[in-house]
Symmetry: D5
Subunit: 91 residues, 10 copies
């Protein structure tokens, strides 16, 4: 099933550049694995913000939770999840 996932990144503005870069690199690598696994299907930036909107697919909410918490930035992210129902037009 598919989910719409919003993230707001709350990493403090005074985080050292090196820490920030390491987190970003690790985040990107983990995101790429989730793409390869078919869990992360699309990802957009919310313009002007350190925030994303993503389209995810997972077996159930618990599997989605495990995928999202596996992201290295997760401890600093405010995440909201909406379940999506297949529309009859696309069945």
């Amino acid at each position: 099933m598919e989910f719409l996932v919003r993230t707001e990144n709350r990493l403090p503005a005074d985080t050292p550049g090196q820490t920030r870069d390491q987190l970003r690199k690790a985040e990107r690598e983990r995101a790429m694995e989730l793409r390869a696994d078919g869990v992360l299907k699309r990802l957009w930036r919310v313009p002007g913000r350190n925030a994303t909107i993503g389209l995810y697919e997972a077996e159930d909410p618990a599997a989605l939770h495990d995928a999202l918490t596996s992201l290295p930035m997760w401890p600093w992210m405010d995440v909201t999840v909406e379940p999506l129902a297949t529309h009859p037009q696309e069945r």
Copy 2:
């Protein structure tokens, strides 16, 4: 998977008593079928309101949508759905 479902019933206050009674009776019958099918697992009233909180189980959000829209009161209900992830304490 399980969902937390809130309903607010917006049936107008000036609905004739007979219409209201028929809807309530049909609503109860359909709810009982959903219970028998294991879709509706628990149901509470929000005290003071014509509103409920329910615990539902369905294969996916589309199946839940079909169950909820099968309720005769659905056209007058404002419904919100939250996905629930199994907690590790209960696995």
Copy 3:
């Protein structure tokens, strides 16, 4: 550019069935045209609600506005639009 579009359908609950059916049929036909034109890329139902979340693509917000207002149900729809920025992971 892509947009995330939410619609809440406010068609009154006491709308005659025939009017409702005609509107639904015309809505579906116009939606199919927007799909064929590459404007409507994905559409989901918000479970439990007469509401949708859609992924649209249009040249600019004015073109998106024209597409959305061409839907027969538009006069009864509460629509909100969010612009989406391409994420570097997908460039």
Copy 4:
């Protein structure tokens, strides 16, 4: 009587791992005691968040308050409680 209880865990992201682990272990132990006592009846995770939704049973709101504040994580939790009324369908 039953209550729907939401918790958002605000433990700072920079809490040392050891402190975090100790708190989690103690939290789990106390939660298990509340389950054994019939106070905590069901617990779910809100997918993507460090948050839970729980179904509790207690004699009255003061007893519920005592149970919730007995959780070691309570000082960092934002908790909201809703009273639930038995639905006639379940009487």
Copy 5:
């Protein structure tokens, strides 16, 4: 147990005066019975509004729900209920 109960009266402004008067009289009579039964302990007006804040006591949320829905104005009232826990200063 005690509850804080807010009501907003949504009776339409164009309700005939006679209907309004009958409802008000019946409302007052029922409220007086609830006072006599110890269910309605205090009642205030929200200044400037057709709204009240009340302190109620009932055995549980279901009993409170029955008391509130027994008020003749209930079909037009938007009611919200908060559970109150006895404070240690008053034990």
Copy 6:
């Protein structure tokens, strides 16, 4: 005149236990004085939260302000005040 007063206690979770205990003790003492003076008439806990709902009586809003700011915890409290109008049923 009477006021409904809500307080949310924002004392940081990492406040030393001794400081916290001293504040609580002083808070309780001052609250008892306000009770003796007829200013604090009732006090409840919001279940699950470090928060209260109180019924106060004071000559006017300025006198209420002075009473509330005399509480030792006041610098850490988020306070909201609602004026209450005597209901005709209680005149």
Copy 7:
């Protein structure tokens, strides 16, 4: 004591002009009486809206309530009241 009072006028847009004019005239007359009585001290329009912000003085919230409900437009007005405390700079 003084109060800040906001009003939003919800008189339906399709109210006949004559009814509207009569209500406006009566409203103005009653407002002028409240000014003469020292109850209505200042009145502003919220630009662009059929809404006002007013500074009122009354003995207590019940007296303010009686003044506001004496306005002929009151049944159509959404009113919110905030108590104001004298600032030490003005004592």
Copy 8:
């Protein structure tokens, strides 16, 4: 001085086409006069909605109020106004 003005048009969906067309035509004519007078400086549509965002200039809020209420659609419009302060970069 300049103001940012948002309008949401609440004209009912079942308004006859002729009435709607007359209102739109009169609205456009009056808007053009406000442009010619330098009151309406820019106007945008909120994509997907029957709503606008406008940049207005007027001597003061009362003059802006008069301009906005002179629009034929005003009785059906929900209008919000924000004052804008010249930024030092543009002085």
Copy 9:
């Protein structure tokens, strides 16, 4: 033109008493100058909060901004401004 100005003072609770006293004294002095200049016309406390509601008069929003930012507490204040339009009753 007149403005309604709300301020919430966010000075941290752990600010040293001396710093706090100096800021308060300087704030009061600057406020008195603004009163003498006819900019600050009325000031109230929001009961129970470290917050004020004020009636200001300034030539335009930029002049008001300069007045508000000249207050020594401004860096810690959350300020919201509403423009007020003269009501015809007061013209």
Copy 10:
């Protein structure tokens, strides 16, 4: 295409004056470049706040995002973006 952009500057109140001045100077310089490039078309201050409302033009949301994040103050800014559709009156 045009965008309405709001910024709230969350730079901590205890930021050293020199850091603040350097950031402001660099912010102004970058803003002037964005003006020269035709990206930043208008900028206003929200009176009373460390906040702005701006009218931007960019090829698409991703280009706007790059422009906004190029501002030196961006890490401390809370930014919200609304897409604007050309109004037929201005075509």
